[in-house]
Symmetry: C2
Subunit: 496 residues, 2 copies
C-alpha cells in the first residue's frame, strides 16, 4: 500500500517520526546542534496548547511573570542535589562581547567575573525573588507561572522529545504549610492530566516517581506518563513537591499567624514542547500527522478544485462564503478555524500537503459542488471515505464532526493503552514481557519496593520505573527485585 | 502636597521613574546585572500588549514561529555591518557543562569548538531557515513573527528602558520584489503607530532614521518616536527595510515568475518591553502609575470597606455580585476585567496600593452602599473626585467610563506633544532650545541634510536626530549644520 510517509511506523518507528515532523513542516534541526526551529504549523499547535493551559492556570489563581534567562553559578549551587542534577548539561556564558584578535578573527572578550548559566530550570533564580516578596502569611500562597525557553545541553538530541533548547512553562508556588503545597502539587498534576486527555486526546497514567527518578532537589515528583504507538512511555508533564528544600536554599521565610518566622513550602511544575512529540507519536499514521481538532491551527481546510478557468470565480467565491460561515460557528468555546487554500498548486499536491499536516477536515469545492450547493468532505480519521454533504448540513454539523474526530483519536489511544498494559507478578514474566522480539513494548504493572536493588535489577534491560500509579488495588505481592512484600505496583516501561 | 511617590517628577524625573516601577510592583532588578524580573503586574500589561499586537499581526497574514536562542559566531559574521553593530554587546556561550576543579569548586567545562552567541536579534539565524524554505515565487511572501527574549549586554542598564535581556517580538519577512518589501516595512510601522496610539494612549511621530541611526545591516530604518514627560524622546518601535543585504548574506534565493534565480527582499521589525517604560513615563503622575484601560490587567478594583464585622457577609456578597455583573459587560471587544480585593489590609493601604499601580477605576462598597445599592467611585485620572453612583448606572456606564479614561490619557499626552514641539530654522535658536536650564526638553523640528557634519555638530549637546518625519511641509530651508538647502525637516531631541 502506498503511504505518504516512508518508512512506515511498522518498518522503523523512530525514522517514521522524523519524517512526519519533516513532512508536516512541524520543525527542523537548526545549525546549533540540539536546538530546533519550530515552524509555523508546529508553533501554531503550541500556541493552542499555551492558550488552554494558561486559561486553566489563571482559573486556579495563578499569574504570569518573567524571570532572567541567566543564573549566576553561585545561585545554582545553593541546593546541592539540584546543581548535581544539572551540572552536566549547563550552557555557560563566560564573556560579554566580541573583539578582533591580532589576525582579525572575532573572539570572545570581556570575561565575566562569575560565569552565568542559561537557565535549565528556574527554581534558584525565582527563589531569590520569592525571598523578597514573601514577608508575611498574608503574602501566601504565591502562585506564579512563567512561559519561557530553557536550555539543557543534550548529547543525543531528538526533535521535540529531547532538544537542548525547549519551550515550556514552569509554575512556582510558595505556601504557608505542607498540606497546601501538597494539594497544589496534585492540583497541577490533575490539570496536566485533564488537559492532555481533553485537548491532546492522550490518556495518561498519573503517578509518583520513585526516589531515583525524582527532580533534583524535590521531595516528591509526580508525573503523567503516556504510551506512544511503539509502546514506549513518554513523561508528558511533572509536578514537584519541593518541601522546604528550596525555601531553605533561597531563604524564603515569613511571619506566620502565630508571629513566628517559618520557612515556606514550595512546589514547581512544568510541561514543554515535548508534548508536541507525544501528540505526533500518539496520533500519527503512515500518511503523516493527525492533529486533535482542539489544538489544530486549521481545523478545516477548503480546497477549490478548478478544472475549467471559467468556473474559477464562482468556485473561489463559494469557498470564501463557506469559510466565513464556518468561522461564525463555535466549537470548544472558540470560533471554528477554517482556511481556504488558494495557492498555485495542483489538487493532488494540496490534498497530500494537508493530509501530512493532519488537518482534521478537508473540504473540496469544484464546479459540480457549486451548482449543487454541496461540499466533498474527508475526515483525517477516516482516510478512505469521501462524503458528499449539502453546505447547510455541513455547517450545522461541523461542531459535532470536530468533536467526533477529537473523540475518535482519544478512543484509539485509550484502546491501545488498555490492550497493551499488563500486570505481572513474577520476574520471569517480567523479563519475557520486555525481552521478546516484538514490534511494540508493553506497559507492565509489577509489585515494587523503592530500593536500589530495583534500579540495579533493571540495568541493561532498557526498562525504567515510570511511576507508582496513584490508582492502586491494594493487593499484596512481592517486589520482583527485592522479594519484599508490598501493596504498591509500579509502572515499568521502555521510554523516551 | 503629599504624594505617594517621592521624589516627584519635577524634583527628579529619573528617580521618580525607578520609584514608580518599584511601588507599582512592575519589575525589579535581578541578581544578574542588567537583567530584570518582570513582576505579575508588569507582565500582565505585557500580556495585553502581546495579545493585541499578535491579533494585528495575524490579521495582516503573519504567522508565529520560533528560532534558536543561540547563534553560531560564524552566522553573525555573515553581514559585516550587522556584526560590527552587535559585537560589543554579545553574551558568549563557550562551555556546555560544569565540573569540579581540584579544590572542589564548580567551573565551566566542555569547551565548544565554536562559541555561540545569545541572540541580540535573529536576522542571521532566521535567514538560514528562510534560505531553505524559499525556493519559488510561490513561497513568497513569507511573513513570520517570533515572540522571544533577546540579550544585548548593557553597561548602563535601566529597568524596561535598557536591560540586557528583554522580551520582544521580531517580525521577519521575505518578498519577491522591492516594492512589496517596502510596503510591508511601512505597513508594520503603521501597525505599531496605531497600536501605541490606540492602546497605550501614546501619540507618536513616524519617520525615517538618518543614516547613522540605522539598524546595523538595514537599507532603511523607520521608527516611531514618543515624547516622555521630561521631554525626552523614546524610540518605541522600529521597522527595517533590509533590501537584499541579508538575503545575500544568508543566500535567500528563489526562482521568479520568469524562471530566473533572484535574491529575495527582506524586512524586519520589532517592539519590546521597552514600551512599558514608555507607558510609565508618558502617563505616570506623582501618585504612581496610570495604566491605559485597554492594557490594564485589572480595569476595575472593588474594595470592600468593613467597619462593623456584622456587615462583612453582605458587603462581600455585594462586591462579588458587582464583579460578576461587570465581567459580563464588554468593552474593547473583551469582557471587562474586574477584581475584588479581599486581602487582610486596611482600607487606606488598599487604596494606595491600587492608586500606585494605576488601576483605572476604584470602587468602594461599605454598609451604606449596600443599603442604598450604590457604589463609591474614583477614577485614576480624576484623583480628587469621589463620586457616588447607583450600581445600575455604574454597570451601564462602565464601558463609557473606561473609554473616557483611555481618551483622557491620550488627550493629555497629545496636548503635551503639541505644546512642546517647536520648529527652528537657525542654529542659535536650536542651541537655545536645548541649552536653557529647563525642567523639560523640547522636540525640535529643524532643516536637515543627511551628512556627517550634522552628527559632529550635535556632539556634546546630548541631542540626537530622532527621525525624518514622514509628514513634511515641503518648504525649503537650510540645514543648520551643513548650510545646504533642503526640503526635509528632522526631529531633534534628547532621548532615552
Amino acid at each position: 500500500m502506498k503511504t505518504a510517509i516512508k518508512p512506515t511506523r511498522a518498518e522503523n518507528f523512530p525514522e517514521w517520526y522524523q519524517q512526519v515532523v519533516l513532512h508536516a513542516e512541524m520543525a527542523e534541526n537548526s545549525p546549533v546542534r540540539g536546538c530546533m526551529v519550530i515552524r509555523p504549523w508546529g508553533y501554531g499547535i503550541w500556541e493552542h496548547i499555551q492558550q488552554e493551559l494558561d486559561r486553566r492556570f489563571k482559573e486556579t489563581g495563578h499569574v504570569n511573570a518573567y524571570f532572567p534567562l541567566l543564573i549566576p553559578l553561585s545561585f545554582l549551587q545553593k541546593e546541592a542535589d539540584h546543581v548535581e542534577g544539572f551540572a552536566k548539561e549547563c550552557a555557560v556564558v563566560t564573556h560579554h562581547r566580541l573583539e578582533q584578535d591580532a589576525e582579525g578573527a572575532l573572539v570572545a572578550a570581556g570575561e565575566l567575573e562569575e560565569p552565568l548559566i542559561i537557565r535549565p530550570t528556574s527554581e534558584t533564580v525565582i527563589g531569590a525573588s520569592f525571598a523578597r516578596w514573601v514577608q508575611s502569611y498574608r503574602d501566601l500562597p504565591l502562585l506564579i507561572n512563567q512561559w519561557a525557553n530553557v536550555l539543557r545541553w543534550e548529547m543525543r538530541p531528538r526533535i521535540f522529545l529531547r532538544t537542548s533548547e525547549f519551550l515550556w512553562q514552569e509554575g512556582h508556588t510558595a505556601h504557608a504549610c505542607k498540606e497546601e503545597a501538597l494539594e497544589e502539587t496534585l492540583r497541577m498534576l490533575n490539570i496536566y492530566a485533564d488537559f492532555v486527555h481533553d485537548h491532546l486526546a492522550i490518556p495518561v497514567i498519573k503517578g509518583l516517581k520513585c526516589s531515583w527518578e525524582r527532580f533534583p532537589g524535590a521531595v516528591d515528583t509526580y508525573t503523567i506518563e503516556a504510551m506512544m504507538q511503539d509502546g514506549k512511555a513518554l513523561q508528558a508533564g511533572t509536578s514537584h513537591f519541593l518541601g522546604q528544600n528550596f525555601a531553605k536554599a533561597s531563604d524564603i521565610r515569613f511571619i506566620n499567624r502565630d508571629g513566628q518566622r517559618a520557612f515556606a513550602w514550595t512546589t514547581s511544575w512544568g510541561v514543554s514542547t515535548r508534548m508536541i512529540g507525544a501528540m505526533i507519536m500518539t496520533h500519527g499514521d503512515d500518511d503523516g500527522l493527525r492533529v486533535p481538532p482542539k489544538v489544530a491551527p486549521v481545523q478545516i481546510v477548503i480546497v477549490p478544485v478548478v478544472r475549467d478557468e471559467s468556473d474559477r470565480q464562482s468556485i473561489l467565491e463559494a469557498c470564501d462564503v463557506l469559510r466565513s460561515r464556518l468561522s461564525a460557528q463555535r466549537w470548544d468555546d472558540q470560533p471554528v478555524r477554517a482556511l481556504v487554500d488558494k495557492r498555485e498548486l495542483s489538487g493532488a499536491d494540496k490534498k497530500w500537503y494537508h493530509i501530512k499536516r493532519g488537518v482534521p477536515i478537508r473540504v473540496e469545492i469544484g464546479a459540480r459542488e457549486v451548482l449543487a450547493s454541496t461540499v466533498s468532505l474527508s475526515l483525517r480519521t477516516e482516510p478512505k471515505e469521501v462524503e458528499s454533504s449539502t453546505v447547510e448540513h455541513f455547517i450545522h454539523s461541523v461542531s459535532q464532526r470536530l468533536q467526533g474526530i477529537q473523540d475518535r483519536l482519544l478512543e484509539q489511544a485509550s484502546q491501545r493503552l488498555l490492550e497493551r498494559t499488563i500486570t505481572v507478578t513474577s520476574l520471569s514474566d517480567f523479563k519475557r514481557a520486555f525481552e521478546e522480539e516484538q514490534q511494540t513494548a508493553p506497559f507492565v504493572l509489577a509489585p515494587f519496593v523503592d530500593h536500589p536493588h530495583v534500579e540495579e535489577g533493571l540495568s541493561g534491560m532498557g526498562v525504567s520505573v515510570r511511576c507508582l500509579p496513584l490508582q492502586q488495588t491494594g493487593d499484596t505481592h512481592h517486589c520482583l527485585f527485592t522479594g519484599q512484600p508490598t501493596q504498591t505496583m509500579a509502572l515499568f516501561a521502555k521510554s523516551y
